[in-house]
Symmetry: C2
Subunit: 205 residues, 2 copies
């Protein structure tokens, strides 16, 4: 049996720039892993292509997929479903190829429950670490603005705890380079290369 | 309290080239971590400098260090002690700096027991993965040579299981690049960056 591929999950708080980073990552042309296209019930926007940007399906079709256990993860936002079909992910991993998902935090937690050996990367807003300096340094923000920002930061840091890596999205090209490094490094993990070695000595021992 | 540094342990089977890779790594000049110099009771060889290559001490001094719990790890080879003094490692980690050890497999397992959050890199001989191809491909080796090589490989693969990463020493410069990548990637681990974030929001929450 061939070694199974690795599942890589990029997620992060809403508005952090997950889609931009994912697009830049695949635009490098240096990716040796596959992008799993999401499925959605929302209408295609101008220029969006079915099977490239999303799989655009009807609400009935999406709900049938859910009922049949054919979604790796899914969520509903503003009356529309978004999710990852299980079939493509499984088939690609079975071929020994790595698969990359870019999904919302709720979806990422569903994947974590089903695929604990996936690699979970949390994209963080560049200002999360600078928050304190900024708030102390400026001293001009209204108290309710400060409190709101701190509350949001606490929520983001709590989310981060469920991930393996934290990548700051200070610059898209930097974030992309860090994600590529994490993927290459994860491929050298003993738990991931061990099946190959064990298979090699399996017949004799 | 400042974040503690990360302990990086490079080990591998005897003769794999750990010392050469470690030296090449530090020769790059691009290392932002400290090398922990080992202590030994063996005689300095021509050109070796005390405090650079090793700390050369007497057998009595080494054994006193052991008795006083001042060694992070140690072992005895051919009547000579080799080990890592705890003091330098702890002081450097406490300053928030990362520390690099290059030690024998027995020592690495002692470190694993004491510092489970260290990063353990296993350097593998380049022929370990090619073993089967070679043995099948050639068909010229005597049976006892084949069996001996397989037995050695099985032992090496068993050792590898106790490590986090496996780096093939096919080319020294390649092995160095992989180790640098692993260290940079490990610095992005949520478990390692989380203390900084928690400290930041600690006062407010």
């Amino acid at each position: 049996m061939a070694k199974r591929g690795m599942l890589i999950v990029l997620s992060g708080p809403s508005g952090v720039g997950k889609g931009t980073v994912r697009k830049a990552l695949f635009d490098t042309g240096a990716t040796d892993f596959s992008y799993s296209i999401s499925m959605t019930t929302r209408q295609p926007r101008e220029g969006e292509v079915n099977g490239v940007d999303y799989y655009f399906v009807s609400k009935e079709e999406f709900e049938e997929n859910i009922r049949n256990g054919e979604m790796l993860e899914y969520a509903k936002y503003v009356d529309n479903y978004y999710g990852t079909p299980l079939k493509y992910v499984n088939e690609t991993l079975d071929q020994g190829k790595d698969v990359f998902l870019e999904i919302e935090v709720n979806g990422a937690m569903q994947v974590r429950a089903n695929c604990p050996d996936a690699v979970f990367v949390f994209l963080t807003p560049p200002d999360l670490m600078e928050l304190k300096h900024r708030l102390i340094g400026r001293g001009t923000d209204a108290m309710d603005v400060i409190n709101k920002r701190i509350k949001k930061a606490v929520g983001e840091i709590r989310m981060m705890r469920n991930y393996d890596y934290a990548v700051v999205n200070d610059e898209v090209s930097q974030a992309v380079a860090r994600i590529q490094m994490i993927i290459r490094s994860e491929r050298l993990r003993v738990t991931r290369v061990m099946p190959d070695y064990e298979q090699m000595i399996g017949d004799e021992n």
